[in-house]
Symmetry: C3
Subunit: 179 residues, 3 copies
């Protein structure tokens, strides 16, 4: 009698465990890591840190942008090192360097096991003007990210950069990419 009570309790608990996942596989933990990854991507981009930038991608990760596709962490590192994507602003004479910054908001993130999909708004701004005193807005759009958790760390496997200022890379007038 005593044993069967204990066993019944155990079976109920096993049922609950089968339905739910443990703490380490939680949505909040995965989302927190992914949003932090996205932040590190942007610091690396805006401060032209090719190594940190490339490290946010999986070994075979892909950037898909207006200029085409760059495949693999190594190629991504070389791409960023070249300064093609985010060239440094030339400081005007007697002025400190201008900053280019990309701001992200509105993350919608779905996690399924060790894979995830993230949608994120972005816009770009700079103070590359004579007085350096305020931001001037530039291009904007959204990111569509495929991500993977490898050795307990999240990486971009593919980042597709939509851009409302470039025909063919825009999404306006099309259907909602989120859910």
């Amino acid at each position: 009698m005593k044993n069967s009570v204990v066993i019944t309790v155990c079976l109920i608990l096993i049922g609950f465990l089968a339905i739910n996942t443990a703490c380490t596989g939680s949505y909040a933990e995965d989302r927190a890591a992914i949003v932090d990854l996205q932040g590190r991507y942007l610091f690396a981009l805006d401060f032209q840190d090719a190594e940190a930038y490339a490290s946010t991608f999986a070994e075979d990760g892909i950037i898909n942008w207006a200029g085409g596709e760059i495949i693999g962490r190594k190629a991504i590192y070389e791409f960023m090192s070249s300064g093609t994507y985010n060239p440094a602003s030339n400081a005007e004479e007697g002025k400190w360097p201008a900053a280019s910054r990309h701001f992200i908001t509105n993350q919608v993130i779905k996690v399924e096991g060790n894979k995830a999909k993230a949608l994120t708004y972005w816009f770009q701004a700079t103070n590359n003007t004579a007085d350096r005193r305020s931001m001037v807005l530039g291009l904007f759009g959204h990111y569509e990210d495929a991500l993977a958790k490898i050795d307990n760390q999240w990486y971009f496997t593919k980042r597709t950069i939509y851009n409302e200022g470039l025909e063919g890379r825009h999404m306006a007038g099309q259907s909602n990419p989120a859910w």
Copy 2:
């Protein structure tokens, strides 16, 4: 010996269950779900997806905005379908469609059981200009959200839209709505 094995199994299972119960009821889990809900609301708004937009509200959810109050998921769906709230931009001849986007930041969120309150900054921008190349800023303000967790999912029960560009909907000069 047999009994102690059963008890050990139970101990482990109860431990995992307790962690899991605490995690799904944790601030981080609730906040992550709420911030994701807010993101889905904005993708739905900007991409004019009335169904996804309405689905972020509870069955009897309310929008309180400059135009008045819309009550209930069904009425909210019809409101969004009508295009009153966020009309599509007319593309100029020979141009791709312009995008209207709402960006949110600065979330302050308090959770109490299955209820929550969220405060969030928003601003609106568009590239509805001749060259489509950069954002032009529009209105801004903040959201005050009441939320409820129903069947383990968060919904807006009331979203109040404050708007600094509209007299009577502004909050400037008033006291801090946060804590």
Copy 3:
């Protein structure tokens, strides 16, 4: 029977003890609390709530900004009360008050036990114009925060405010402050 009740109660208690080590020490929980703290800081700043503003700092917390260093929660409270840092906009005749707002994005946060480091982009905007209808962009930069968890709550121990619009407070052209 009595024994099994006692054992069950014990197991549940042990389970709840396990949570406290597993969940409250999680990255997601700490990040959620820190990001919420940052949000409350900005509501307090923009709505000129000196008390709420000072309460985001540890007792001996420090603000390091263009005007120098303010040391201690009490001094921070007095600084904010004086209106030096974020003066109220004068409403033009016949107009409602203008709002000044600081928006934050791109948080990169590293937690080590009861200490944390956070990097965050910010930009400032206002509608202090004749028609009040849209935001005008102002200064921008990033925050570098040192934080501490005291009695299970996160506080700023030092917030350093970098500003791209002020020579000497800018970071453009320097190396990536993130990782």
